[in-house]
Symmetry: C2
Subunit: 616 residues, 2 copies
């Protein structure tokens, strides 16, 4: 039976036939690997996801975390699943051997992680926050901090969080007011110790009993000599603030001064505790006095830059989460459409004839094909981004590493936002395919839809990523990132031009679309007024996102078309035909949506800019 | 303080400034009415909705109906609210005086009903099903049936349902298998009595203790002499099947043979019980034997035609429900955007400056303006449809009545579907404006989003309405409905051409768009293969829907533009400016989405038609 979590066939296509991850094994870091070790990791992930994650996805949703005697209670299956994942070594799958990792390429690791996310997005959040936290510390922390906090996280003994937002500072991080004041007392081995006080909002995994400790990465401001906070992002520093202060042996000891102030009750993603934490209120008094003990990570006032590592990783993670929720919804809808009998063809006038599986209805196939084009396009983008991470880290020559970094930086807001928008739409279509049943909690798809709605909000809202793309990524390095993407698109379009049949036409469409993006981008920057340039940045994000996914589909078609010609087994031929048909769908139904968007942008439309509060 | 349920100002604009409902008072049926009586009904509705419906909307959602000792338990506020509504006479607001009604025009009644729906869609469902049930019976039932079932419903003593679907027959009603067999025993006053047996799914309001009785309107098949059911819709008849059989005095007596087989647990709309009912299982034995007692309504085998009255009314009701959920979400988002402080303008470089209300950010204004353009466009369409009902019923000359009926028939699938799609999108944007808070159940907007997702499913899915529009409404009466709409659009476009400024441009855009719809429709019917003609019917529904809403916006702009020129009070000028800006938004941002859709239709695209099951 085919899994309804993810398709191994599609993963194999993307990893081996398209992104050619086997070639990475030529590089020293991955020299011990081969397709068998990659598949072994995927097998393990599939098995644990299927047996331990998917099995409590609904239970998790229906038994939301709640507080009993000051402790957060979760269904016990959460810990079982997380422990199994860590014990199988999957939490550290991409880390160095020296840190207990498997040194898998990022591309393969992302495919591994896709399994637990698709099976249970809420439970997997604990793992992914922990991994991203550890990766951030590995970039900037001291060897002592790595020893004390990172190693236990990679072993699944401690879990991690990111504490950025505050009730008055969500998108506007420059307005945080959490204070970090140097402690007269030194920390372990003479490390400078701080005391933190402030309120942190939207902390996923912020409180629970799943691990021996929780390592909070906290943004806070160190006051100047007069006790004033420096306004803006320049005042922000990054701190490790553990739930339990470690004793001399590195074991969780005294309770730190961090209090759970309340759990948020979300529409979806209910299995992930999300809370308001109060730091330094004095309810706990580590070292005999109030104030949450923390340790500076990296340089003071560089907190946001340091945190950006975690944020960028988390953003690609959000894109992946949105994508795989889309995929599992699609696979559920497909399964339903193949088994549910309802109605007859329009030309069939005899009501005594048996009813058909609804997949036989063109409109149902349209909804399935739309889902396929969204979710497989999104998965391609996420894995392409992961492949860029591998290039950035391990490509033999520096120019290739730099270029991969540029492409990745440009794509990150799209990799985060496009799946959040369109794989949610896929989940809506999955409900629609199920009809009334899809709207009930007796089935699974309504939960995917609720879970997925979060993704356009957290790790930077849709609007913030629009500003990031148009206001920053397009223009930094004198436009080098933007040019790099244009070159990649042009290269693919040129390759496509020589392929017989529809692919050549797609290539031409893509080429035209990207040229139009270039024109429009110039027009926007010619406005001479940043308020005008950026007025419709969200629309720009959406339009460019669609063109990027069209590019991802052309990439896939360029692999599928010759593979179809070569394939001998009927099931392989069907698979490639499906890829080509989904590509056709995207070029026929989706890419044309971009032109009116670009036309609006090119006009420097001021409809929203001109609107006044009083007119609403 | 402005209500966050609905805007009275906007209702006044639509009812009095645009649809001119005061002119209806020149007609005999409405002769006792005037603007004061209309406003009086709206005042009452607003008060009850605000005090008794909105106040338990969240409680209703969080305390879902459940079964205790075989009875469905609801929060007590539901009954209080429903009783207040009935006792104020609002349930029968549009009915004849003779039936205890107020004889309000349908247009005004729909505006009245909008209040309770916007305040609490789940609780109001009981009223609306009851009203639609009563209206259906008033069309076709015998005087005795009216006396025994309709009068108590209009007084709020009995509630009504519609029982169409079965587990194996949802969209495909022709496949129902519920049987109705003549009973040897006669019913009251010699009425022919039937015994029904079968399972009915998705019955909203199907079981509860809110009223003295539940009047089920049930579709069933009368077997032929050999006991066989006639395949297809031709075999369907309509029956009244009360929960309690009435005694000789018309009071609820013996329990009928109808058993609650299970409650559905929905994503939203949780306060409305929705259930599977088993008829004729024998658990209750009215008159000493098994079989649910029912009474034929109208002629045998005409059940679907008779039920269509209820379905059409319910479809406009669904459109209204989707619309007002969009409106209340928009008003909540607007309120939040005016009070939430976050961030600064792009040009503001000083982070020490205070944060702004987020309505000052262009992207937030875009999201609010999009919501305004969707929800006020949808409300215009729903009230325009209601105005057509008034014309159809009370216009002095027959030609006008016929034409109103044609316009209404054509618009019904759009009035049902367009708000279900776009006011859901408005609710998504309302969440987005709230950021993370919007995703939590501590706020209200996530519920509106969950509630609204139902509307593209029930009373005919989106796909079914696409087929209805393109496969039926376009072609019946030799295309007379389609031509009638075209003439109305052309008339408005012609009027708009003479208005100075942007309105003339909108009129030209609308005219072009409709001509394109005409061309495309001809191309689709020229395919010579109904499978091809109808392959993309959902897309046709969406494209034509957008053009229709553009028309509704032109109608509003044609009122608002001169009113702005005349207005003296600043708040009136702001209101009209807002209308014109929302119209501008729709013509700049929305209507252009239609051209690629129409281009795809004109090509007779077969991407979905060609897709094979095996390729997924």
């Amino acid at each position: 039976m085919q899994s309804k979590i993810l398709s191994r066939r599609d993963l194999a296509f993307l990893l081996y036939e398209w992104l050619d991850v086997e070639r990475l094994t030529e590089r020293p870091r991955f020299a011990d690997h081969n397709r068998e070790t990659f598949d072994g990791a995927l097998d393990t992930a599939e098995r644990i996801a299927t047996d331990l994650f998917a099995t409590h996805n609904k239970k998790n949703d229906q038994n939301e975390p709640h507080v009993v005697d000051g402790k957060v209670v979760l269904v016990p299956e959460v810990k079982t699943a997380l422990d199994a994942w860590s014990q199988a070594g999957l939490l550290a799958a991409a880390q160095d051997y020296e840190l207990g990792g498997m040194q898998l390429p990022c591309t393969v690791e992302k495919a591994v992680v896709a399994w637990c996310k698709a099976a249970n997005i809420a439970t997997s959040a604990y793992l992914l926050l922990t991994g991203a936290n550890a990766n951030t510390l590995l970039k900037t922390a001291t060897p002592l901090q790595v020893e004390r906090f990172v190693r236990p996280m990679l072993a699944g003994e401690f879990f991690g969080t990111m504490c950025l937002s505050e009730p008055q500072a969500g998108s506007s991080l420059s307005d945080i007011t959490t204070r970090a004041v140097p402690d007269p007392v030194d920390g372990p081995e003479g490390e400078r110790q701080y005391r933190l006080a402030g309120n942190k909002m939207w902390i996923s995994g912020g409180e629970h009993e799943l691990a021996g400790n929780i390592v909070h990465l906290v943004l806070a401001k160190i006051p100047d000599a007069e006790g004033r906070l420096i306004p803006g992002v320049k005042g922000i520093s990054l701190f490790i603030v553990p739930k339990y202060v470690l004793d001399a042996d590195g074991q969780p000891g005294e309770r730190n001064d961090i209090v759970l102030a309340g759990l948020n009750h979300k529409m979806g993603n209910r299995g992930t505790t999300n809370c308001l934490l109060n730091f330094g209120e004095g309810q706990f008094q580590p070292g005999g006095r109030a104030g949450a003990i923390g340790y500076l990570v990296g340089q003071p006032h560089q907190g946001l830059a340091n945190m950006f590592h975690m944020m960028n990783e988390a953003r690609i993670g959000v894109g992946m989460g949105a994508t795989v929720l889309g995929i599992t919804g699609y696979l559920h809808a497909l399964d339903y459409a193949r088994t549910r009998l309802q109605g007859r063809h329009p030309a069939q006038k005899d009501p005594a004839q048996p009813q058909l599986p609804i997949v036989e209805h063109t409109d149902v196939r349209r909804m399935l094909l739309a889902q396929k084009s969204y979710v497989e396009g999104a998965l391609a983008l996420v894995l392409y981004s992961a492949r860029l991470v591998d290039e950035q880290r391990t490509a033999p020559d520096e120019a290739a590493r730099t270029r991969a970094g540029q492409l990745l930086d440009f794509l990150t807001p799209i990799t985060k936002s496009w799946p959040s928008q369109w794989c949610l739409e896929a989940n809506s279509l999955a409900i629609q395919v199920h009809g009334g049943y899809g709207y009930t909690r007796e089935y699974n798809v309504e939960q995917f839809y609720r879970d997925n709605r979060l993704n356009a909000i957290h790790e930077g809202t849709h609007g913030i990523h629009g500003l990031d793309l148009l206001g920053r990524k397009v223009s930094i390095q004198q436009g080098a990132l933007f040019r790099a993407i244009g070159e990649e698109v042009a290269r693919m379009a040129a390759r496509g031009r020589d392929v017989p049949g529809d692919v050549a036409q797609y290539a031409a469409q893509l080429d035209t679309a990207w040229r139009r993006v270039e024109e429009v981008t110039l027009a926007l920057y010619g406005a001479g007024d940043m308020n005008k340039t950026l007025a419709n940045a969200s629309l720009y994000l959406e339009a460019v996102g669609h063109v990027v996914i069209a590019w991802m589909w052309l990439e896939q078609a360029l692999v599928a078309a010759p593979a179809l010609a070569r394939a001998e087994r009927e099931e392989d031929r069907d698979f490639y035909r499906g890829k080509l048909q989904a590509c056709r769908y995207f070029y026929q139904w989706e890419l044309p949506k971009v032109e009116p968007q670009l036309a609006l942008l090119a006009q420097l439309d001021t409809t929203a800019l001109d609107m006044r509060d009083a007119w609403f």
